[in-house]
Amino acid sequence: MKVEDIRKMFPALDASVYGKPLVYFDNAATAQRMDKVLSLMGDLSAYHNANIHRAVHKLAGDATDAYEKTRDLVKEFLNASSREEIVFTSGTTASINLVAFCFGEAFIREGDEILVSEAEHHSNIVPWQLMCQRKKAVLKPVPVDDDGYLRLDVLENMISSRTKLVAITQISNVLGIINPVKEIVNICHSKGCKVLIDGAQGVVHSGIDVQDVDCDFYAFSGHKLYAATGTGVLYGKKELLEEMPPYMGGGEMIGTVSFKETTFAPLPEKFEAGTQNFNAVPTLGPAMEFARSVASDSEIVSYNEKVRDYLLEALLSDDRIRLFGVPHRTIDKAPVFSFAMKGVHHEDLALILDKMGIAVRSGQMCAEPVMDRFGVTGMLRASIAPYNTLEEAEYFIKSLEKAAAMLA
């Protein structure tokens, strides 16, 4: 597969902004949508729109099939052991909140501890804070080192008999360092605590085999994986999901309802209350297929690595630039580059780059604790997808140079 072939699948990439071709380097915030995703969503909305699981008519049957077939596809994609372990949510944030609430209700007592890393997205911090408040439990951060690597030695020492769960990102949306999740799960399980992995970035750049890694929960969002927004997945081990109480009450999640007693539907419907995002969930299908085909195509993989290595090299060799998340080996780094430039404000850079047609992110990137850890008020982030080209990367570096000269 060539990068040009991939670019043809993403209509947005043809766009120009301010008369310049769009260079979309904000993929960690959200990826562009594939044409197959867009047409499927349009098609489902236009011709197969009916509420799922609820009616006997043909349209409802089609919609239900499309939705439930996607569950099987997600199960395969994550290599989960059963489809009951796949819960559809509105995204990573919703998945983590579900676990924080329901796992909290089932398993957390006063004085228990939850660990998260210092490099988490707010979505993997705040739900635990809320749960800890409710349960009088304690949330503790595990540090990362100066290069952005999680301190596994500290993690190991921090886990005590009170530690009930460790929630760690697979890849930080700021640092881009790929965490050794299998090793982390090993450490945690050997000490008897459960592990949730925030796969929002990881699912895009590394993928996951939940049985091999043996994590207890895994969360990701569709929109970062080229699928429709408002789609997301929670994977949870069946025995845990079964012991957890429902999250929201409503239609679909029930067995029988009466004013005396309501029983709940079996997994996974127990966690899918109310009308689901059935026009969008099936877009996960083509999106996951695309992600898988990219990951298994050596030509495009090596091209993408070339782009990553070029950017890494260019940023590291500029001594005005401080890169956050410096890999010891290039394979430890996902193509997510956050940095600061000496004497130049990240927001000024982003503003000028924007006028050059380049979309990058500036600011705190929903991860204030990481900003504090590295002593900055914000960063500039360029995050790359398989459809980004070497020419774009070169243009970005040149433009960065130009912007810096304007601001110096």
Binding site: E347, I352, K355, M356, T377
Partner: protein, 275 residues
Amino acid sequence: MTLEEKKAEVIDDFSMYEEWLDKYEYLIELGKNLEAYPESEKTDDKLIKGCQSRVWLDYKVEDGKLFFRADSDAIITKGIISLLISVYSGRTADEIASDDFGFIENIGLKENLSPTRANGLVSMINTIKAAAEANRKSAAKEDDEVLSADDVKALAPMYENVVLALKQVYDPEIPVNIYDLGLIYELNINKAREVYIKMTFTAPNCPMADEVLNDVKVSVEDVPGVTGVKIDLVFEPVWDRSMLSEEARLELGIDLDDENSEPSEPTEYDGYGLH
């Protein structure tokens, strides 16, 4: 140069650049040339909320004119604020308060900023407007009208009611109303029954300033017969405790004649900023 002339000049300057990158270059130049702002004044009360980058804005009033100074850690933002300052600094409160800031739209600045930066721009404008509003000269004060004896007689009860209304407003830090605290430096009512108040706060940079000013306005407007209220906030002369009324001193237990002039129960007044 009048305000209108200055605005026309800025619009003209800006129109010389076709490309937005060039306009940014111009803003960056302005930012770099902005008069230095003292580090010690980069305090939270001068920080403008709503900006992604940090912006501090401060001003002083001289001869009825407002002089602004500001800083930001982002240079384009600094250029924008420099532009605003070049237009509005040295103007009277009335001039600024009655301006519509429409020239910002004429140069297309707001539309061409990222939404966060555009919000920041709006916040900067609002801060400048608020400063002007707070220093606006009242119509009442401007006409040097002569009140006849009859007028005074008619206005006297209203005057008392306004004082009562002022006594309803409490200082956020000291549990005494603003009138007895001596924060009201001047109180006039003109024939048109417009009230003019010149007042101060116990300390500059009071974080509650806007709320208190608003309380004063609302409270006085409620007085029957009052047709309008104008408030001037001044910090000269600086307020001190000798301005407390007899009642306030009693209430706070402060004896000014006493050499030590310590409050009789010191612990109770700690943190009120009286020392």
